[in-house]
């Protein structure tokens, strides 16, 4: 009799389709008036000696059914949750709620990369003013008045002795005078100005980063190594560097560093003017006159300096063909980076 009941109950349980049916099943078999309870009540009809055994059997049955019920309940709940989730599906291709950050200027982003690379080599940022004296911009950099090399920079003049700096190099003198007699490793970023008509290739305002290292054993090979390291970290690790002689009044010897063109890999293209090389920077060993003007004895100290525009590397890296985008501030440009 108990076996029959168990079999029937289990069949019914397996057939329950949902939570409601499951609850009804529970009431029917295990409820206060359910079949199992009824069975227990029928114990009085048995002879007294059989009663304990029968009672135990009924309780065992109840426990077994309760366990089966819980297992079935878990299955049904899971099924029902899945059904519910299925009906809650949304179009995941719709756009999200507008939020999110703005964009840093490409120059800022480029400068940060440069700072990080040079920080790794012990160079720290030193800032100097935009409006400079003729003496710092030219004179103390080994270009006394009427020096022919001054022609290399078209200058905006504010007065006889005051100008908008044409390069970040006056910062060399400032930092040397401030830090003497410490050794120096700094980079000097900043706005520079040149009296130039604005075209796709030239701006009257642009950013430059100058580097200066002064110490008791600094050599040309260190300069070449530092520039190579920079190019490989700023661009790609397998870039090649070419060093060629050049002329700057404030360095001696003077060099320029080129990198194999990242667009054509040195084969020659429009961007590298079919030379296969892109100019990375002008550099050299600090001229003894400049060291002297900064307070460092050139017989004891030596140093190197380099300088490059900030826009040009970004232009090469991102395929920008017009420098006017930088300070034209069209947000459709700036928000691409």
């Amino acid at each position: 009799m108990l076996d029959q009941l168990e079999q029937k109950a289990r069949q019914a349980l397996d057939a329950t389709p949902d939570s409601d049916a499951l609850a009804a099943w529970h009431r029917h078999y295990l409820g206060k008036k359910g079949a199992a309870t009824q069975m227990l009540r029928s114990v009085s009809a048995l002879p007294p000696e059989e009663r304990p055994a029968f009672g135990q059997a009924v309780n065992r049955l109840k426990r077994a059914l309760e366990t089966a019920f819980e297992a079935r309940q878990a299955v049904i709940q899971r099924q029902e949750m899945e059904q519910q989730l299925a009906s809650g599906a949304i179009d995941v291709t719709l756009s999200g709620r507008p939020t999110g950050p703005g964009h840093l200027h490409l120059t800022t982003q480029t400068l940060r990369q440069i700072y990080a690379i040079f920080a790794g080599m012990g160079f720290q940022v030193y800032e100097a003013p935009d409006v400079e004296t003729d003496e710092l911009n030219f004179g103390l950099l080994n270009m006394p008045p009427e020096h022919p090399a001054r022609d290399m920079w078209d200058t905006f003049w504010i007065g006889d002795q005051v100008l908008l700096r044409t390069h970040t190099s006056p910062g060399q003198i400032r930092v040397m005078r401030e830090r003497y007699p410490e050794p120096i490793r700094v980079i000097l970023p900043g706005k520079c100005y040149r009296y130039e008509q604005i075209t796709a290739r030239a701006e009257h305002q642009f950013y430059q980063v100058e580097g200066l290292a002064v110490g008791r054993g600094i050599q040309m090979t260190d300069l070449i190594g530092t520039l190579t390291e920079f190019a490989r970290r700023f661009y790609e690790p397998d870039r090649r560097i070419r060093i060629r002689g050049s002329y700057f009044p404030f360095t001696e010897p003077s060099i320029e560093a080129d990198m194999d063109c990242i667009l054509c890999n040195g084969k020659g293209c429009r961007v590298c003017k079919y030379s296969g090389w892109l100019e990375v920077c002008g550099a050299g060993m600090v001229h003894p006159v400049v060291l002297q003007n900064g307070g460092y004895d050139p017989e004891e100290w030596s140093g190197f300096a380099f300088g490059f525009g900030v826009e040009r590397p970004a232009m090469v890296k991102y395929g920008i063909d017009d420098i006017r985008y930088f300070y034209g501030n069209d947000l459709r440009f700036s928000t691409q980076f």
Partner: protein, 833 residues
């Protein structure tokens, strides 16, 4: 400078192909920016060696069927002379003549040539054809067909000694380097100068024939000659004046080879005399000037014409060769004769003493002028020439006599005259060469490479430096630079010569091994970068605008004419819009907003940059950094989602950003009603941080908006002094303990006067609620029917919490009473039901 390699080869043996030579020169500092190949493989039009040849025109026969055509019989080295149909004007009169022996360029069938009739440059292949019934399978070429020039009227005639049958590419092919000479080095502005560098780089010898012209044609050098009286009145500006005399020349065109070289070097042939002066200038680097001897006047009462080099009398005038009347100041140096100015020294000759066709006797000037003075004169007259280009870079004074002799003999060679073997030479500025003490170890100290001493000596000697051992100090060198290297004065200058000839491509790389300098935190930079990150995090885009601005814009911002005296002005601006240094970031930000509103509906931008404030008694201005913000357009971007905030940005949008900035920097700010001409008078606040006013923010005044042509929509802006804002940033902070006891929340709605600033109410609540009141948040502002006129209702959520216990209702109730009493007493606030 344009350097034809064929010309270079005259002075130095070159085995390298042009591009390899260019690379060597470039690495050594002679930057070959481009190479123009003429006829060589790789050129735009390579002259095929088997198809384009030197030919000899033997005879010209009439064309049986055409008046304007001829049959030209040409020997091109083939088995038989070839007869071709041709029609250049110079051949028509020769019809019926033979034994002509004129050298021409002959192209055979299959030759590739420029199509002279194509509108756009186009190469065609020569095909056999029939012209008016006569077969023709080759042609006589014009310069245009060969790409030598645009000349197509007539065919090109080669010199008589051109070897028949030689491929044209071997005879006339060339590579022309365009070298960017960096630095003020006159010695590199010459073919011989570049050849000297080439010889040093290739380890070969310079052919010095032209430099030794005086050995072949000896001449007497004397300050007093019987053909000219020479006087240098201002020896500070003219260190040497040399004059040669050539008699009986015939002025005419210069020969093909000279014209070709001049053209390839970028100069236009004029006549044999002028061409020689240009040729020798290009060759040796010494500018020359040829005077018509008979135009030069003697001084009153004298026989011989005179040349006097002197400063101009202020206001003195003369017409230069370019036919412009020039007026001189008292610092400009003139070449004068007995009557007046005949040339601007080192810059340009005068029109009246120019060599003309009838000229027979030439006085040739070869002088040396002060380079700074030449630069000044050239700049002030706005007159640059090949001569001033070189003189402005310190020409070697030792060169005058060699160049004069070289040019004089070339003139005689080409013009058929005789050179007078006496050269006038006044040389008041002679300098004895100075030796430089040079320790070869210096090269290692500066370069980081070991160059053997004998290599150093060899390199320096190859550049014509004299190297000797110091008698007293063994191992130390005494190096005397050649006279053409006035730029070399220090040991480090010699180090550079060694380095660039040794070759930078041979340098190893090292990383700095030197002592690391003390590393310091740069709070100034870190602060600015932090501000950038916070504002970008708030959805603002960074811009960088121009420092040079229009004064009118500054006036538009301040709604009154800007006082120019407060600004730094550029003396030589590019334009009126870029002539003053800004004192505020706002005008350029407003312009940026306007430009972007043409394409975008929302513009939220910021800039960090310097402004320039002149300081009394100081040469340089103060350059404080400012932060500027401009926001306009809907608060949220358009999207499909419900509950979007498409209201225009307003004061509180910008204030939210400002508060986020303060929070991000960990700073406390106080906003108070502010006043600034650019802002809406009732919607402007000034911000105080650390007890100091750091800037202003608010809604832009509609009049300002209009002045900047901005659309009629709310526009909010802020400008802060970044350095003042950051003054308190980065101060050390200590942790406030976190309570584990539950907070008690309570809402408080008050009615206060309309005018009462919310800040005052908040501060009062916060003060009265000490020490258990942890936060006061305003969540509703209401004025309308529910409150009396002139009143407003403010609803706050108060949070009470203790660190050490759970608060009881009684404690909170007592505090609440205290707060309400103070609000009633001090602000007349009424608790709202």
């Amino acid at each position: 400078m344009l350097v034809p390699v064929s010309w270079l080869r005259e002075y130095v043996e070159i085995q390298l192909p042009p591009h390899e030579l260019a690379e060597r020169l470039t690495l050594a500092g002679l930057d070959v920016e481009s190479i123009k190949l003429i006829g060589l493989p790789g050129a735009e039009l390579p002259w095929q060696p088997e198809k384009i040849l030197v030919g000899e025109l033997l005879a010209v026969h009439p064309h049986p069927d055409a008046d304007r055509l001829v049959l030209a019989e040409v020997d091109y080295g083939g088995p038989e002379p070839e007869v071709v149909v041709s029609g250049p004007p110079s051949l028509l009169p020769l019809r019926g003549q033979s034994g002509l022996q004129r050298k021409v360029v002959f192209a055979l069938e299959g030759a590739r040539l420029w199509d002279p009739y194509a509108a756009e440059p186009k190469i065609k292949t020569l095909k056999a054809t029939k012209i008016r019934g006569v077969a023709s399978r080759a042609m006589v070429c014009s310069e245009k067909e060969l790409g030598l020039s645009d000349e197509h009227e007539d065919i090109i005639y080669l010199p008589d000694d051109a070897p028949v049958g030689t491929p044209l590419v071997d005879y006339l092919g060339d590579a022309v380097f365009d070298i960017d000479i960096k630095g003020p080095f006159a010695h590199l502005y010459s073919i011989v100068g570049v050849a000297r560098e080439t010889a040093a780089l290739l380890g070969t010898a310079l052919r010095r024939d032209v430099l030794e012209v005086l050995d072949r044609h000896p001449a007497e050098l004397t300050p007093t000659t019987d053909f000219i009286e020479l006087e240098i009145a201002d020896p500070d500006l003219c260190s040497r004046y040399t004059a040669a005399f050539i008699r009986g020349v015939t002025v005419g065109p210069s020969p093909f080879w000279m014209q070709t070289r001049l053209r390839r070097a970028g100069m236009r042939p004029i006549n044999n005399i002028v061409d020689v002066t240009n040729y020798v200038m290009l060759e040796l680097g010494q500018p020359l000037h040829a005077f018509d001897y008979h135009v030069l006047r003697p001084r009153p009462g004298e026989e011989r014409p005179a040349i006097v080099v002197r400063r101009a009398r202020p206001g003195e005038r003369m017409a230069t060769l370019d036919r412009v009347q020039r007026t001189f100041d008292g610092e400009m140096l003139l070449i004068t004769d007995g009557g007046g100015p005949v040339a601007v020294a080192g810059v340009m000759g005068g029109l009246d003493s120019e060599v003309e066709t009838k000229t027979e006797d030439i006085l040739l000037e070869s002088a040396n002028f002060d380079f700074l003075n030449v630069r000044r004169t050239s700049r002030l007259l706005g007159l640059a020439s090949e001569a001033s280009l070189r003189f402005g870079r310190q020409v070697d004074p030792e060169l005058t006599v060699t160049a004069a002799a070289r040019a004089a003999h070339l003139m005689a060679e080409l013009g058929g005259g005789t050179v007078v073997p006496v050269i006038g030479d006044v040389y008041p500025g002679r300098h004895a060469p100075t030796a430089i003490k040079f320790d070869p170890a210096e090269a290692t100290r500066i370069l980081g490479i070991e160059v053997p001493v004998d290599t150093i000596t060899r390199i320096l000697a190859s550049l014509e430096f004299q190297v000797a051992e110091d008698n007293q100090r063994p191992g130390i060198l005494q190096v005397t630079p050649p006279s053409h290297r006035p730029d070399v004065t220090r040991p480090v200058d010699l180090v550079e010569e060694v380095a660039r000839i040794w070759g930078y491509d041979r340098f190893p790389t090292t990383l700095l091994r030197d002592e690391l300098p003390p590393q310091r935190a740069n709070l100034r930079l870190l602060g600015a970068e932090r501000v950038r990150d916070i504002l970008a995090g708030c959805g603002l885009d960074e811009v960088i605008t121009y420092s040079l601005v229009d004064l009118e814009d500054e006036g538009n911002l301040l709604q009154t004419e800007a006082n120019a005296g407060e600004y730094l002005r550029v003396i030589n601006p590019l334009s009126a819009e870029r002539s003053y240094l800004r004192r505020t970031l706002l005008p350029t930000l407003l312009h940026t907003a306007r430009e972007n509103l043409r394409f975008l509906e929302r513009v939220n931008i910021f800039e960090i940059g310097a402004v320039y404030l002149p300081r009394k008694g100081e040469l340089l201005p103060d350059e404080p950094r400012r932060l500027g913000i401009v926001m306009t357009g809907p608060r949220e971007e358009r999207s499909w989602l419900p509950g979007q905030d498409r209201e225009a940005v307003g004061f509180y949008t910008l204030k939210g950003v400002t508060e986020a900035l303060l929070k991000g920097l960990g700073l406390e700010g106080v906003f108070e009603p502010g006043a600034h001409a650019a802002f809406h008078p009732g919607r402007c606040a000034q911000l105080q941080v650390g007890g100091e006013v750091v800037g202003v923010m608010g809604e832009i005044h509609p009049a300002v908006r209009e002045a900047f042509d901005l659309p009629a929509q709310p526009l909010c802006a802020l400008e802060l002094d970044l350095d003042r804002l950051l003054a308190c940033w980065g101060a050390p902070r200590t942790l406030e303990p976190l309570s584990t006891h539950p907070p008690v929340y309570e809402d408080l709605a008050l009615v206060v006067g309309q005018e009462t600033p919310a800040l005052q109410v908040r501060d009062l609540i916060a003060q009265a609620g000490q020490p258990l009141l942890r936060s006061v948040t305003l969540f509703d502002v209401y004025c309308g029917e529910q409150v009396a006129a002139g009143k407003k209702s403010l609803a706050y959520r108060l949070t009470y919490q203790a660190d050490d216990r759970t608060l009881t209702d009684r404690e909170v109730g007592r505090l609440r009473e205290k707060i309400i009493r103070r609000l009633e007493r001090e602000l007349g606030a009424v608790l709202r039901g």
